[in-house]
Amino acid sequence: MTSTPQPRDRLVVLGAGVMGTGITTLAIGHGVPVTLVDTDREQLVLAEPGIERGLRLAQLMGTLPPAVAIGALLTSTSLEAVADATAVIEAITENAGLKAKALAKASAAVRPGIPLISNTSSIPIDELADSVARPTDLLGTHFMNPPSLIKTVEVIRGAKTGDAAMAAAGSLLTALGRQAVVVKDAPGFVTSRVLHPMINDAVRVVEEGTATIEAVDALMQGCLGHPTGPLRTADLIGLDNLVDSLRVLFERTGDGGCQPCELLLAKVRAGELGRKSGQGFYTYEEDVR
C-alpha cells in the first residue's frame, strides 16, 4: 500500500552516483521532495538527466503511482541540507571508511530522532555505528537497482538500531511504495551474500571457456528463472561495485568463492565497469545508461 507523502517530508540523499540517483528518482516519482547532496557539483549536474530517464523508465514499466505529482528536487554540495531532513539516506561509494566519514558529518547536522540510513550492498551496519552521534538512529537498507522497478527492499537492523528508527524507516518505505524485509546485520546481509559469489562463479564459467556470456545468461534466465541473467545483473550493479562488495565479503567471511575472479578484475582495470561506462559484459548505448 502506498501512503500519501506528508507536506513536511524532506528526504535528503547523500551521493549522486547510480544508487543515490535511483533512490532520488523513486522518491520524487512517489511525490516525496528530495534534496540530493554530492560534494562534486559535476556529479549533481550529471544526475539530473539520469533522474529524468529513470522517471521515464518507471512510467514505461507502470511503477509510478497514478495521479501523484512529482516531488520537488533540490541539489546541494553542502551537508548542511540534512538539517531540515525528515529522513537521510547515505548512498555514497561502497567503502566503509568513506561511509563512516560521511555518516559522522551527517549525524552531527541532522536532528535527533531522524533516521539515518546507510544504503549498502554488503558493509555491516555495526561497523559504521561508532562513527555516528546516535547509533540508535542508524540502520541500513539495500535497495536493488533500479530502485523504482524493484518493489522489495532489504532493511538491516544493526545491534544498536532503535525501534523508533526502524518505525520511521518503515513509514518512509511505505510512502515510497516499497515492501521492507528486515534482516539482521552481517557481511552482505542476505541478497549480496547469496548473489555476489554466484555472479563471481558465472564470470569464472566464462573465463574458463565453458560457455559464452549470452549462453550463461540465457541458461540462468530460461532454466532457473533469473530475471536478467547474472552477467547482465553484474553490468547493472557496476563491475567495480561488485568487486568492492566481493572483497568486503571475502575479508569478513574468508569464503574463497568471494575472491573476485581474474576476468572481473581485468574488466575493472580496463575501465569496463558495466552499464554506467557503456561497456561491461555487454555494450550499452549512451542514451540508456
Binding site: R56, L60, P227, E285, V288
Partner: protein
C-alpha cells in the same frame, strides 16, 4: 564492440513531415533488434515475454524510436504494451508521425 557490420544505421523520418511506411519501420526495427540482441526476431514475437528482454532494453527501444523517426513518446503512449512487438511499435511510430503531421498542417 559495435562495428559498421553489426550495427544498422537508423532510418530517418521522411523529410516532408509525412509518416514513414509501417513496412519500412518494421524492417528498420528488425535490423536494430538483431544487431542489439544478436538474435533474429519475428515481427509478432513478444520481446518481453518470460526469459525475454529487460525493462532497460524497453527504454532503449523508446529512445531509439524517438531518435530514428523524429517522434516524441509521452503520456499514456509510454507504456510497455506499446513496445512488446515490432508490429505494435511500427503502428505507434506511424500514428505519432501522422498526429505530428496533422497538427503541423492543421
Amino acid at each position: 564492440m559495435r562495428t559498421a557490420d553489426n550495427w544498422a544505421a537508423p532510418a530517418s523520418p521522411p523529410a516532408d513531415g509525412s509518416a514513414s511506411d509501417p513496412e519500412t519501420v518494421q524492417q528498420e526495427l528488425l535490423r536494430f533488434l538483431e544487431a542489439r540482441t544478436r538474435t533474429s526476431w519475428d515481427p509478432d514475437t513478444d520481446l518481453f515475454a518470460a526469459g525475454g528482454q529487460s525493462s532497460l532494453f524497453a527504454l532503449e527501444l523508446v529512445l531509439h524510436l524517438e531518435k530514428s523517426f523524429g517522434i516524441s513518446i509521452r503520456g499514456t503512449d509510454l507504456r510497455l504494451d506499446n513496445f512488446r512487438t515490432v508490429t505494435v511499435m511500427a503502428a505507434l511510430v506511424t500514428r505519432l508521425q501522422q498526429q505530428a503531421a496533422g497538427s503541423q498542417h492543421g
